[in-house]
């Protein structure tokens, strides 16, 4: 007979790894929270018996705030598994035991799998397993899920515990939550028991506790079951809430959580955990945090660090970026000489080298920025940034957990909105989650970086770091204001409480920094070589076909003939045989006139192309923001992936360029192009920050929000907002400058 067991634990505690190890499945192991929102099932056959294993979503608590918590709790209540295997991260025992305590409070049979023992050992943490088991009154088995160590013992212990539980009913943990709450709990428990209120499903004390924690799901079920009792319980909750507010300036949820942690600490301090070393580091971190996260000094330090990061990036990235640009210029020259005139040559030079090369040219800058960000992340500073921003987030109606989604999406620069959107899964409230989903795309992801870097390098060469800092701040302020707007209008709702764990500061290792930098840089290069290459080729085709009709071609040919016939044949021979510097005055004039005709023909062909027609059609509106038809094509292409803005501009300015000697970088071309200037660049940067998320992010938003309606909203609202802001920047800027 198969025994039902459920794997439960905090996100990132190794649940899915253990599930794979036990069942032989190959579920994805996520390295950010929220990978398992639905429960997954598998079978484990061992000497200890046959088990039906269910992998529950990672949760921090059993109070139904988030989808994961609802899924996990409903399973425990409805399915009543023979054993909950609580996977606990041994290197973060205190935090992980918070969930264990709640299982014990619920009275369900629990076996603790003390996972990641190898990590704990490395950190110098020693755990007395027997003592922990004795104090918690549940079986505890050390495991290393990654290597499968402890698996057999775990299964044997589970089988034995299940057999033991058949004889004696599982015990419920009753913690004292302080005299005020304990009194209220006793009173509520008495009412619940006497009226048999939900007692078929939940233990009486646990139901009372959930009412005190303001668990909406339980309160709704309670109201359906017996509104009168529900109302009596609520009046007790209100009374104790008022009392705690007046006497201790706290609320029942906070008090209950504090007492649970108090219980855990009292267990751990009885010699369960000993530290071989490293305890001083925590104290040092506290000292540093007093300054770094100070209410006044903290933000100033944060801005200074960001400024330093951008300064570092541009100072050290510029030289190798120049080399790479020169390389692509040289490559274009080689292709120019090696390939015969025709479509293939145009595709290779304008579509591939100038398109993809434009994106790859920024690799050194991106690499230095990733190096800086990896340093901030590995040192522990990023967590402090999130901690400081949490205070601000609350003002704007976002949850503290949203900070992580924002930073992963590119809060500093260089992230990705897709994992950012997925990180929003950890948010408890659906409304806060939705507000986060809709605002994280405003962050400056790695794909937007080349656009900013291109424009900053072309038009703000004297103040690159300052402008990048400005872009970062504008994206944050914009995201927070939009969040406030959404939370005050279409997604109104209350904020939920949260606590963040700050890791101790540490000096990043060179190896770790290099690995992180390489991983991110490689992802950028890989994308340029696959998706961006494919899109660049398609955009080149759209910019090349259908080309000019025969009549228009004949018109340009006639113009050439008129110019050629106006001079003696010897001048034409001179033009073909000599470089421009060695030409006579008349020959130089003719050569320039012919070049101008070629240029006009190329421009006319580009404007008449499929993409050109789209760009020209949009120009009537977009000229308000200073965008010409070529920028329009780039921005439409940017919906596929934001890097495409750069590659499309590269192709557009390359196709419009007919001088084979011209190998200038895209920055140089934009700087000297008609209609471009610092104001246009600022307007375009504003549009890039706020306009529709890329296709992948839109799909992800639809999946995470559970509706295409919100994905469509994101596209339409963001683009309208971006356009409005760009027009404002361009028009106000034009007024000031005129």
């Amino acid at each position: 007979m198969s025994l039902a067991i459920a794997l439960a634990g905090n996100p990132n505690s190794g649940k899915t790894t253990l599930f794979n190890e036990l069942t032989g499945a190959r579920q994805h192991v996520g390295n950010y929270p929220g990978v398992t929102v639905e429960k997954k099932q598998g079978t484990c056959v061992s000497n200890a018996g046959q088990f039906n294993v269910v992998d529950l979503p990672g949760t921090y608590s059993l109070t139904a705030y988030s989808l994961e918590e609802v899924v996990a709790r409903d399973f425990l209540v409805d399915e009543r598994p023979a054993m909950i295997v609580n996977i606990v991260d041994a290197s973060n025992l205190e935090r992980n035991l918070y969930l264990s305590v709640q299982f014990m409070e619920m009275g369900v049979p629990v076996c603790v799998a003390l996972n990641m023992m190898d990590v704990a050992k490395k950190r110098g943490i020693r755990i007395d397993i027997e003592k922990l088991s004795q104090l918690l009154n549940v079986p505890v088995v050390p495991t290393i899920a990654r290597s499968g160590e402890g698996k057999k013992k775990l299964l044997t212990t589970i089988a034995a515990a299940i057999a033991g539980n058949k004889e004696k009913k599982g015990t419920t943990l009753n913690i004292s939550y302080g005299s005020d709450i304990d009194t209220a709990l006793d009173e509520m428990e008495a009412i619940i028991s006497s009226d048999n209120f939900l007692t078929q499903t939940y233990p009486a004390r646990w139901t009372a506790l959930k009412y005190l924690e303001k668990d909406k799901q339980i309160m709704e079920v309670g109201n359906k079951e017996n509104p009168g009792v529900g109302s009596d319980l609520l009046s007790i909750v209100e009374k104790v809430t008022r009392h705690l507010d007046v006497t201790l300036d706290t609320h029942p949820e906070g008090m209950i959580a504090d007492q649970r942690y108090g219980f855990i600490n009292s267990v751990l301090k009885q010699g369960v955990v000993t530290y071989a070393h490293d305890r001083n580091r925590l104290q040092q971190s506290d000292k540093i945090d007093k300054v770094v996260t100070n209410r006044f000094a903290g933000p100033v330090i944060m801005v200074a660090i960001l400024m330093g990061l951008y300064h570092f990036t541009f100072t050290y990235g510029e030289l190798p970026m120049g080399w790479l640009e020169a390389f692509f210029g040289w490559l274009g020259g080689v292709a120019e000489n090696a390939l015969p005139d025709g479509l293939l040559k145009s595709l290779v030079i304008s579509g591939i080298i100038d398109g993809v090369g434009g994106v790859l040219g920024f690799v050194p800058l991106i690499m230095f920025m990733f190096l800086g960000i990896s340093f901030l992340e590995d040192s522990g500073y990023l967590a402090r940034m999130a901690f400081m921003l949490d205070r601000v987030f609350r003002i704007f109606g976002l949850h503290g957990s949203s900070v992580m989604a924002f930073i992963v999406s590119g809060g500093i620069a260089g992230g990705c909105a897709v994992p950012g959107v997925m990180a929003a899964r950890t948010l408890k409230s659906p409304k806060e989650r939705l507000a986060t989903l809709l605002t994280v795309p405003f962050m400056n992801c790695g794909a937007k970086l080349p656009v900013f870097v291109l424009l900053v390098a072309a038009f703000f060469a004297d103040n690159k770091a300052g402008i990048m800092l400005g872009i970062t701040l504008v994206s944050w302020v914009g995201a927070l204001l939009v969040a406030r707007l959404l939370r005050s209008t279409i997604i109104k709702g209350e904020a939920t409480p949260f606590v963040m764990e700050l890791p101790p500061y540490r000096l990043p290792t060179l190896k770790g920094l290099l690995i992180h930098t390489w991983e991110r840089t490689w992802q950028y290069v890989k994308k340029a070589g696959t998706v961006i290459l494919g899109i660049s080729i398609l955009i080149w085709a759209m910019m090349t076909f259908p080309g000019l009709d025969e009549t228009r071609q004949a018109q340009f040919e006639n113009k050439r003939s008129v110019v050629a016939q106006s001079v003696p044949a010897s001048v034409l021979d001179e033009i073909q045989s000599l470089e421009i510097d060695g030409l006579s005055g008349q020959a130089q004039t003719v050569k320039q006139a012919l070049a101008q005709i070629d240029q006009d023909e190329a421009q006319a062909g580009l404007k008449n192309s499929f993409a050109g027609r789209i760009g020209v059609a949009l120009e009537g509106i977009t000229k308000l923001a200073g965008f010409d038809w070529r920028t329009n094509i780039a921005l439409v292409g940017g919906f596929a992936a934001k890097e495409v803005v750069v590659s499309t501009l590269g192709t557009a300015y390359s196709l419009g360029e007919v001088d084979p000697e011209e190998t200038a970088s895209l920055s140089d071309r934009l700087r000297t192009a008609d209609g471009w200037g610092p104001l246009t660049a600022l307007s375009l940067m504003m549009f890039t920050i706020f306009y529709a998320p890329c296709f992948v992010t839109v799909v992800c938003i639809a999946k995470e929000a559970g509706s295409w309606k919100w994905a469509a909203f994101s596209v339409v609202f963001n683009t309208a907002l971006a356009f409005g802001l760009s027009v404002a920047v361009y028009q106000v800027g034009s007024l000031i400058m005129s």
Binding site: N12, H28, V29, N31, Y32, P33, Y60, S61, Y65, S66, N92, R95, E253, G254, P340, G342, L343, L344, L347, E377, L382, A386, G400, S401, M404, I407, V408, G415, C416, V418, P419, M422, A423, T426, K428, G446, A447, F498, V499, M500, E501, L502, E519, R520, Q523, K526, K527, T530, V531, L533, G534, I535, I537, L538, A541, A640, V696, T697, V699, K703
Partner: protein, 57 residues
């Protein structure tokens, strides 16, 4: 000959892009954080580590 080659390259790019987008739409796209990681990524393909831990009380 050149034109045929260009036709093949453009058709190849079109098929590649359509396939990539269909994969992304179905949630089967490879996870490399720049080309997008959806729910069914493969192990080790996403390096966006969670920079800090959050406790929900």
């Amino acid at each position: 000959m050149d034109n045929i080659l260009v036709g093949i390259i453009v058709a190849g790019a079109l098929i590649f892009c359509i396939r990539s987008f269909i994969k992304i739409y179905r949630g089967q796209g490879g996870c490399n954080c720049s080309s997008g990681c959806l729910a069914r990524e493969r192990k080790g393909h996403c390096s966006q580590n969670q920079p800090f831990k959050i406790i929900n009380k």
